[in-house]
């Protein structure tokens, strides 16, 4: 059985993944901002078979707390095997273009808070010489587009940070998994019209579990996004800049 820390535990993808972890009888430590929602999730996961569920209310942009968070989590579960980072927001691109304050806030939530947490996690796992760091990035981080480049910047930075971390922790036997979902039908994307490319959170959750078990490094979810992004990445910049994407 594994001891698993989930950040942003009330996000839809995190819930779907936590349910699969719970049904396998793992120990869970959940972090989110809203204590009422954490309670609902916690009883749900206990009922579904989690060996134990611990919760902590924390705003992840409070990076001074990260070092202590890892310590508390390790104490509570007497160890830590997997960290899944799933918190985030979908910034309003046009609002961000008008305001650096808003842009900074979004970068803080979707990027800096993650980098700070990963700094503490990486040191812990490097010392333990074992463990898994899994972070939900996004296909949006693969290439900047006018409709979504603040989010893309945050996710792109996370992906590159993870790349470096993977290189650094390779010798310490630590799995560093970058998860890049495409369109997922969650409350975060409720304003978007849904089409055939949209996936259910449960599908993404199964992909995450599979990628962790198979010791993958980077995974696109669902799988076909690897090919969509391959095409998008290969469009020459002088053409790409003219596209309305």
């Amino acid at each position: 059985m594994s001891k698993i820390l989930i950040i942003g535990a009330t996000s839809t993808i995190a819930i779907a993944t936590a349910r699969l972890f719970a049904s396998e009888g793992n120990d869970l430590y959940l972090v989110a901002r809203n204590s009422e929602k954490l309670d609902i999730i916690s009883t749900d996961l206990k009922t579904r078979g989690a060996a134990s569920v611990h919760t902590k209310v924390l705003d992840m942009t409070d990076s001074e707390q990260h070092e202590d968070l890892i310590k508390e989590c390790v104490d509570a579960m007497t160890g830590l095997d997997i960290v899944l980072v799933a918190h985030g927001t979908l910034p309003d691109q046009s609002d961000c273009q008008q305001s650096w304050d808003k842009t900074y806030k979004e970068l803080d939530t979707n990027c800096l808070s993650i980098l700070s947490l990963l700094t503490s996690c990486a040191n812990y796992f490097e010392h333990e010489r074992n463990g898994t760091i899994a972070v939900i990035s996004s296909v949006a981080g693969d290439r900047g587009r006018q409709s979504n480049y603040i989010y893309g910047t945050a996710k792109g930075a996370v992906s590159i940070f993870m790349q470096g971390l993977r290189n650094r922790l390779h010798d310490s036997n630590v799995q560093v998994l970058t998860i890049k979902p495409g369109f997922v039908d969650t409350p975060m994307t409720k304003e978007f019209p849904k089409g055939p490319l949209w996936a259910k959170p449960e599908t993404i959750a199964q992909g995450i579990i599979r990628a962790i078990k198979k010791k993958k490094e980077v995974v696109y979810l669902p799988w076909f996004w690897r090919f969509i992004m391959l095409v998008i990445m290969h469009i020459p910049e002088f053409i790409f800049k003219k596209l309305k994407l």
């Binding site: 609902i40 009883t43 749900d44 009922t47 579904r48 409350p187």
Partner: protein
Amino acid sequence: MSDSRYRSWGGYPRAEHEIHKLHWLTDSWPNYLNKPLLPFGNGRSYGDSCLNNDGILLDARGLDHFIHFDTESGILRCEAGVLLSEILELIVPKGWFLPVTPGTRFITVGGAIANDVHGKNHHRNGTFGRFVNQFELQRSDGTRLVCSPPENQEMYEATIGGLGLTGVILWAELRLQKIHTPHMNVESIRFSNLDEFFELSEESNDLFEYTVAWIDCLAKGDALGRGFFIRANHATELSSDPPRSPGRKPGFPVELPFSLLNSYTLKAFNLLYYNKQFLRRWQGTQHYEPFFYPLDGINHWNRMYGKAGFLQYQCVIPHEHGKEAVRNILNEISRARSGSFLSVLKVFGDISSPGMLSFPEPGITLALDFPNRYKKTFELLDNLDILLKNAGGRLYPAKDARMSADNFKHFYPNWEKFSQYIDPHFSSSFWRRVTV
């Protein structure tokens, strides 16, 4: 928003809705000042009882958290958007089963209560509502009522079978049934006419927990009402070669522009199905999934009926006139050169239903489905209503898209009493249609 999720299972009628998704018991509702509200579960009601044309649907499927499961006593508490399939995944490995389940497991707990659903064991257990210890109901004025037989009893009785009109069920507590294995000991017996069906029912109801029959609605004359009688009990011991769950499902990925069902395919299916079993009697062990949910094995089987959709007709007729009325109904269908793809017959037991508007009552229930050929189909069903009314029977609102207001009021004389418990800001396409 004309999202295909917010349709009824029969695909008729269509409706336009504003959608508001509920994910947390703590979520607030939208401003509902000028539009009626209706909770929506998983869209498995066939007609328009789950639709609210030009109104707001409160999509409660997101209320999908478990709250407590006592594996000793078999008491389960969960939010109302949890599917029966999700409950089964949790409880079957622990030796428990649903005390009542309809023919699909893809319905929410809230929907099961709001339609007071029944299953193949009605003669033993009655309806789903009988196993609901308590639930919490949220009304549009913000009040929350815990309802159970001792507490808010009338609201409890109005909400069970209340078609979602009394408020949103937030969570419910259910009493489960103990099982020893996930398997079923099943017997399937071919019968050659209606009289044999009634004899088989009589002899089986005491010995078998589950009984149901499929009938070949195209057979005429002496063979009228021929079909298969299926009866089963939960297996108490694991067999040496245990059957397994069927796994991945085929299905209809898109809606077809036309119906696959016409008089030729219908004839072929009924003939093949009736003759599929070489022996008069087949006995064997089945996993519970194909036994209880044969159609769940085909994703979106309703799409086989094409764009126009289909109409279900499920009625119950008191024993007194039961045999004769079933015979008359089958004759009328045959006379109209129409036919039902799957026709199901079952004898209900005497256990009374807890809901004010619950459908089941002692007698014989017949369920038929017809591809929607508009005027032709509607005329036939209107004729069936006359036969049904004369025999003292009634129709199942969860499957209806067309019964007249007069007939509804005749079938459910309790409707006025029930109306007092409707939330003042709630309504549905069905309710507006049957109470004009």
